[in-house]
Structures are given as C-alpha cells and as structure tokens.
Amino acid sequence: MTEFLYPFLERHETDLPTVLADVEASTVSKGADVIELRRGIDLDAVSACGAAIRERLESGGRLIAFGNGGSSTDAQDVVCDCLARGWPALALTNDAATVTAVGNDVGFDKVFARQLIPLARPEDVALAISTSGSSPNVLAGLEEAHRRGLLTCAITGYDGGRLAELPWLDHLFVTRSDYVPRLQEAHATVYHLLLEVVGDRP
C-alpha cells in the first residue's frame, strides 16, 4: 500500500549503483553529442570571420561582446581570451551598474544598445552570443552596432532564430541544436577558433 503512494521509500539506496551507471553512460553520450555539434561548425566561415575581425582590430578597432545568462559569461570569456592575445576587448555585461540602470529606467531590451551608443566606434567589432537567436536586447544591440558601422558577428543556436532574418548581419554561426548546454559548449569552440584565426597581436 505505502509503496504505491511512496515508491521512493522502497527504491532508495539499492538503486545507487544503477543510477550511478546511468549517470556515467549519460555523461559519455553528452560528450558524443557535443563532438557531433562541433563537427557541424562551418570552418571556412570561421576562417573568413576571423580574418575580418583581425582586419578591424589591426586598424584600431576593439571587440565588443555581449549576451544574456550563460552567453553573457561566454561573451566575457571571449573578451578575456582576446585581451590575452594582446587585442582590446570589452564585454557589455561586465558593467552590472549600467545594465541594471538601463534595464530599470528604459527597459531590458535596451541594455546593450544603450551601452553601444556612447562606447562603440565605427572600426569596432560587435560579437553577439544568443542561444535562441531571438533575444530582443541582443537584436537591438546588433542593430545599433550595424547603424554605427561596426562589423556585426553573431553566434546562435536552434535554427538561428530572428538573427537568421537580418540581411545586413556580416557573420552568423548557427549551432543547430535546441539543447542549450551542448550548443553552448559548441559556441565556446566557435569563438575560440575565431580567436585562433585572429591570432596574437604582433
């Protein structure tokens, strides 16, 4: 009777080895999933985008990266790596004061666009990371960057979302998956390979 109502009372620790074995198998298959997604990266496009970014950086431009949530930390990561290679770079989510001020006073959709208005220069590069491809603040940020003459680059997931509909977007990488953890891991590879093409500052 009670087993029916409380199945976990009867299945507890005796299941431990089974659950651990399931978790191990799941871990290995998750690794295979991300390897498969990485094989889908368009390496010619990475090569072309990396070369275009380098051209901007060589002429005095800076890399400006942004995104939401885990993609915001990816944007911060690519900025750290870019700085380590000797190039100027900044991440818009590093400034929580401005993000929350704009979010509170104007609206969250404008947190990146508002920062780009005073910060961005025409020779800069905007790199947006969005798993859905449809975050309004990321789209607004890219639009502002495009208006100001920046090179516009985006890394996204799913089917590209609304980012895939922007005719003026210079470079777009779509990791075709709807599972955020794995596609995010593939995103890290995309921006690491981009920086590999950019190379170190002479």
Partner: protein, 263 residues
C-alpha cells in the same frame, strides 16, 4: 593565417581530449553528482571560483544552477563571488560547513583558487577542483584536464559543469539516494568532522582524495554496512562492491561509499 584544414585539426584534437577525459572520469563525475545532490538536499550553497577567464566560468556555473535552462528543474543556490577576487572574505563570512566549493583553473595552477579550496576543505565544505594539466590541490573530487591548450581545457570544463548541473537533477528524482542516514554518506558537506579521520594514506580511485581502511562490524540490509575505525563508527554503502561483505572484512571507504574489499 589558420585556414579551415588547420581548424579541422584543432577540432580533432578537442574531440580526443574530451572523449578520453570523459571515459577516464565518468565514474568520478557520477559520484560527484551524487555528493553534490546530497549537499544541496541538506541545504548547501554552491560557491564557484575562478580568476581571469575562469571567473567567467564561475559566473556561468552560478547562473546554470540558479536559473535552470530546462523549465521545471528546481533552482539551486549558487553564488560566484564578485569583488572578492580570492573569495577569502566570502569563505570566512558567508560560507558554512555543508556548502560546496568549486574551484576552476584553466592552466597548471592558480594560487588563489588553490588557497580557496584549501580553506574550504578546512571549513568542512565539499570541495571540487576543475583543473588544467597541473596537480590539483587535495579536494573531495578533482578533475584535471591533461591538455596544455587553455581554451580546450575551458571547453572540457564547460561540459563538466553542465553535466554536473544536468545530472544532479537525476538524483533529485531518487529522493532515497539523498538521505544521509540511509545512504551512509556521513556528512558529505561537512567532510572533516563527519567522517572518519583518514589514516591509511590509500588513495581513493575515484577522486584522488584520501580514502580510509575500516573493518566491518555489522552488515545492514539495503546494501549498507557499519564500519569501525579507531573507535569511530559510520555507515557506508557497499553496493558498489561485487563481492559479499561480511563482518570482519576490511574495506577501503570514501565519502560514505565502500570502494574496495581489501585482502
């Protein structure tokens, strides 16, 4: 400038590093997920720390647990220290025994993260080290990626912390596995006081931590045994052992689990 064929080689290297790492560490990762789930079940908070580029991973870990991307998963408490670069103040003023310290290093070493994990260990936190190709500090679980390319290490570690987050929730679907009084974990989160003091120096095969040898004094139902060491007694899970366990046997134990029956 690197062309597509160069990039393809770099991808192939990544595949090798990731798949060999997961194959080698899968059992340690599974046990780590279990320990993490038990620590959360007891009310622990996850404190991830990295410096430089690894600080962005620490923030990523925090948001992963705090705001699950999969609708319906419960939010779990996590905070990445900001404006406290070594997390020394966070550890001293905010952390409590039973919390979880996760240190992230992309390269061979990071004195700040090493000190953080050492301090966390002394305070009785569950400690997890995600390390690059160097020797990680003593921790309950350590996962070193033997690769000199820090970007590749970062990518493997991103998979690791995503997997930890994803699979912690598997254990929440098995509430019976979260109960310390039954699962014999001692207090995984209050490692030092809750467990037998280590004496043998034998290494735990799953996490590089020190395991203890102890004698079985009673056999319980449901895959558990009572062990005794230097007068202290504790419950351990013996499910992982394929052999029968009887009173008088000597077991190598770690974190509430018997890993091996010693001859």
């Amino acid at each position: 400038m690197p062309d597509a064929s160069h990039l393809a080689r770099r991808l192939a290297e990544r595949e090798l590093v990731l798949s060999s790492f997961l194959e080698r560490e899968k059992s340690g990762l599974a046990l780590c997920c279990h320990a993490l789930a038990r620590a959360f079940a007891r009310g622990g908070t996850l404190i991830p720390l990295g410096t430089g580029a690894a600080a962005t991973d620490a923030a990523h870990v925090a948001v992963e647990f705090m705001h699950p991307v999969i609708v319906g998963k419960r939010a779990l408490p996590a905070l990445a220290p900001a404006n406290d670069p070594t997390a020394a103040s966070t550890l001293a003023r905010l952390a409590a025994p039973g919390d979880i310290a996760l240190g992230i290093v992309h390269g061979r070493d990071d004195p700040a993260v090493r000190a953080f994990l050492d301090g966390a260990r002394r305070r009785g936190l569950l400690t997890i080290a995600l390390w690059g190709p160097g020797d990680p500090p003593a921790a309950d679980f350590s996962f070193a990626v033997a690769c000199g390319d820090q970007q590749t290490v970062q990518e493997v570690q991103e998979t690791v912390y995503h997997v930890l987050w994803e699979l912690v929730h598997v254990f929440f679907e098995h509430p019976g596995l979260l109960d310390d009084s039954r699962s014999g974990a001692g207090q995984a989160g209050t490692s030092a006081p809750g467990r037998l003091r280590q004496a043998s120096g034998a290494a735990c095969i799953t996490c590089g931590d020190v395991a203890v040898e102890a004698r079985v004094v009673a056999r319980l139902d449901d895959g558990f045994a009572v062990i005794e060491k230097d007068g202290a007694r504790e419950h351990v899970a013996v499910d992982l052992l394929e052999e029968n366990v009887a009173v008088g046997d000597v077991l190598l134990c770690h974190a509430g689990v018997a890993l091996e029956k010693l001859p």
